[in-house]
Amino acid sequence: MSIDAPTLDGAILHDEIVAARAPWIRRIATGQTLRIVDLEGNQAVDFLIYNAHDDAERYSAQDTIAAQANIYLRQGAVLRSNEGAPMMTVTATAVAWHDTIGGACSVESNTLRYGHHTKSQHACVENFLLASAAEGRTKRDIVSNINWFMNVPVEADGTLGIVDGISAPGLFVDLRAEMDVIAVISNCPQINNPCNGFDPTPVRVIIAG
């Protein structure tokens, strides 16, 4: 399948494969673009961003939703901070929409959703905590995140859930930084729902600018 992605402006500054189940953290300067490629298809990429100069300002799903009056992240979506400021823009994506209401899987929420037999399984909050701990952030800094390539429909009566994805091998999302940010990824290790097709796989991250 063709990625059909636009050519990235500027130099390629970083190009890395993030292993299945792994965390990733990187600073991205204003104007640079982060491209995330869903290499094998339907791999949820849990994503948080912090203002690189004041990390108490961070991505806010609720501010993002309120400002665009829509829960889905589509091409053109502006990712906003808890103080309402644009942090990144979805400049291009080959996937019709992405999720920002489903949150991250955690050891603790897995015990609710699937049962206590899952308590020893790896989870996205573990990745977020460890990646952020290296820079001094803690559990207080983990907030509702984005799930690139994940599909969470909401039905008329409010029923919602993580269902089969609408991504495919090679599909991508491009994010232009509107401020200097720290981007944190958890390449989701979940095996109890379809967000990774029950088989976590690697993703590719490219920074250009």
Partner: protein, 277 residues
């Protein structure tokens, strides 16, 4: 008001200050709370631990013991209460709005729904709800959004924003900007359209709608009463809300709301496990 000869000396200033005794305002607490009026049937004044009318544009924060019931009444039909919840013992544990909707497989609050923490525990249960219009998606207004709609959004001005109100409420417990987590909005609702659009339910609503929460853990609750961030009106319209809390028993093992779903039951099991000590 009593007239004063002078406030130029401490005694005169004291007399002037004390002359306010007995003054009433629409928004104020009842002290002692046992004097609260219009309590729910069966609730004794002796069990009331908090009674306060919170102004439109105002806020409050309070620690509530496990089993406490908290009733919020939209007195005049224009309240919009943004709510944060923390585990009072270790506030790094707090309400997780995403888990609350995901774990319960539903976007909308209704009686029996749990407010879940990020540690897989039930912080509170929505035990009564005569409103039915609430919002888990759009969060708090902020200084910038109020500035665009009303001209300014400062706490010291006429259009306080919900985020700064939540920050003040959290600050009273030593918490800070990192602790103002995604919130729930009560009384103004948001429904999700098939294309994902957020549709505001702004009223007009009848007076006196209420919700009652049951604290399943020792919690700090932070309430900010500011216009909904999607409220399209150019005027800052928000009316007072009354908060009343009273002592109640810890949820027993045969409680129907505890046992209503397998996910919710496991949240209660985790909460009960936390309190084994």
């Amino acid at each position: 008001m009593t007239s004063h000869a002078t406030t130029a000396d401490p005694r005169g200033a004291q007399s002037h200050a004390r002359a306010q005794a007995g003054a009433r305002a629409e928004a104020m607490p009842t002290l002692p709370p046992s004097q609260a009026q219009d309590l729910p049937e069966g609730v004794s004044g002796a069990d009331v631990v908090w009674d306060e009318v919170i102004a439109g544009g105002g806020y409050a924060s309070r620690r509530l013991a496990r089993g406490t019931r908290l009733r919020l009444i939209d007195l005049k039909g224009e309240a919009c209460v943004s709510l944060l919840l923390f585990n009072a013992e270790q506030p790094a544990e707090r309400l997780n709005v995403a888990d609350t909707v995901k774990v319960q497989w539903n976007a909308y609050l209704e009686p029996g729904r749990l407010l879940l923490s990020d540690m897989g525990r039930a912080l509170a249960t929505l035990v009564e709800d005569t409103a039915g219009t609430h919002d888990a998606f759009c969060g708090a207004s902020n200084r910038a959004s109020n500035g665009r709609r009303y001209g300014d959004g400062f706490n010291h001005g006429a259009h306080p924003n919900a985020r700064d109100r939540l920050l003040l409420g959290a600050a009273k417990f030593g918490l800070g900007r990192r602790d103002v987590h995604p919130c729930l909005n009560l009384f103004k609702g948001v429904r999700i359209a098939p294309d994902g659009a957020t549709e505001l339910q702004a009223g007009p609503f009848p007076l006196g709608r209420h919700v009652t929460l049951r604290a399943e853990m020792e919690v700090v609750v932070v309430l900010a009463n500011c216009p909904h961030v999607l409220d399209p009106r150019s005027d800052y319209v928000v009316s007072a809300v009354r908060a009343t809390a009273w002592r109640g028993p810890t949820t027993p093992s045969d409680d129907p709301m505890r046992n209503a779903s397998p996910e919710g039951l496991r949240a209660f099991l985790n909460t009960e496990d936390y309190y084994l000590r």
